[in-house]
Symmetry: C2
Subunit: 214 residues, 2 copies
DNA sequence: ATATAAGTTGTACGTTCGTTCCAGTTCCAG
DNA sequence: CTGGAACTGGAACGAACGTACAACTTATAT
């Protein structure tokens, strides 16, 4: 008997679709859901197993400890979310007006606060836990840095004269709007307030789609 | 035998300095510290008792359940923190330049990320938990609303032509900057980046201390 | 076919958890 | 002084926890 992590089938980019890999992926997905709606405080191996529809014993086979499982779940989340964020900003590059840009970001936040709410809550659970776990902190930092680099490129294309600062401001505003509206049900007037805040931010930063380079 | 919550000595504004009240306050303080450095996941009645230097049995006397304790700790935190935030913005009102305003906010964030880090982490623990507990969510909303009202008054005095939106932007930027730098040790260059972002935000929003009313 | 490895599952271990209880102590009104 | 109320603290409860393990089945390779 051996464990997957010790076996020769381990790769640089783990393939999660081979024999036992589907199960491993299902466990991580289940963990992300549990973290999202019960929090890390409510996360137990038994709760994950129940959510995944698997026996408790299965978890010990794929993950040495609960902490390992949490780390891998966070890595999975950042991999997936990075794509989503970049997609949101990619749609922005050819927009013509500041309002178009703001609209993309509004839709992004709106999605996070409604359909993807569980995932968003899980994300902030991880970020807070990162203050206590160096391994999670490394993932947080790498993710945040990747986001900022990409967003600053976008800001540069949109005519920013200080892309680094503007990307920091934009990412901060997004995070702040998300946090501030997580405890509240998202009604239309709230969405409108978010839109207004984003429009004003983008406009005042002087970002526009068809910007000539400075 | 009776419990304080059932007794006639209960008041609208609980006095925490009477006979057993000192202990109750000590328990809440201990809970805030434990939440800050072990998280809600690491919060146990025994950990609180140990942190407060009290026997486990004492907790059951002052708080019916752990959830009650958490709620009261959150209320204590918001009461205390509201004062601190308003003080930070109060020092801003008579400033002359956008840079002065930004400097106040930078100092505020810097303090939260260094000396008051434990308290800041606890705050975000509460905010995330608010997504799952309606009683905590009420506290979050009330607190957030109080902050926004006060900050929008300040923004108005600083010449904002849309104080509500500007206060939402400012509070979001602050929250975002805090969150984004919680997983990272706060070195001087990071502080400088925060200062730069705040300066640009304030400047671009057109806020200045000696503003004439529009 | 047979052996070896991979995957699977139910059970059980020792700990820690929130909460309850009660005998004992301190306080204050009468 | 005396009674009852407020307060104290240690012990104990059942429940839930993370993890380890051994018996078992399935797949793969020679």
């Amino acid at each position: 008997m051996s464990r997957p992590g010790e076996s020769a089938q381990q790769r640089d980019t783990p393939v999660l679709t081979e024999r036992g890999g589907v199960r491993k992926a299902a466990i991580l997905e289940a963990a992300l859901r549990v973290i999202g709606d019960k929090g890390l405080a409510g996360l137990s191996m038994r709760a994950i197993a129940a959510e995944a529809g698997l026996p408790l014993g299965a978890l010990g086979y794929y993950f040495k400890t609960k902490d390992d499982l949490i780390l891998e779940a966070f890595e999975l989340h950042t991999r997936r979310e990075a794509d989503r964020v970049l997609a949101a900003f990619a749609g922005v590059e050819n927009g013509d007006h500041a309002d178009d840009i703001a609209e993309h970001l509004t839709a992004f936040i709106h999605h996070g606060l409604t359909e993807a709410r569980t995932s968003l809550v899980a994300e902030y659970e991880f970020l807070i836990e990162s203050t206590r776990r160096p391994d999670l902190a490394r993932v947080s930092r790498a993710w945040r840095q990747a986001l900022q680099i990409q967003v600053s490129h976008v800001a540069s294309r949109l005519g920013s004269d200080d892309p680094e600062t503007d990307s920091e401001i934009i990412l901060s505003v997004i995070a702040g709007l998300e946090i501030d509206h997580l405890s509240t049900p998202l009604d239309p007037s709230t969405t409108q307030a978010i839109r207004t805040a984003l429009r004003r931010t983008i406009t005042r930063l002087g970002l526009r789609g068809n910007a000539a380079r400075l």
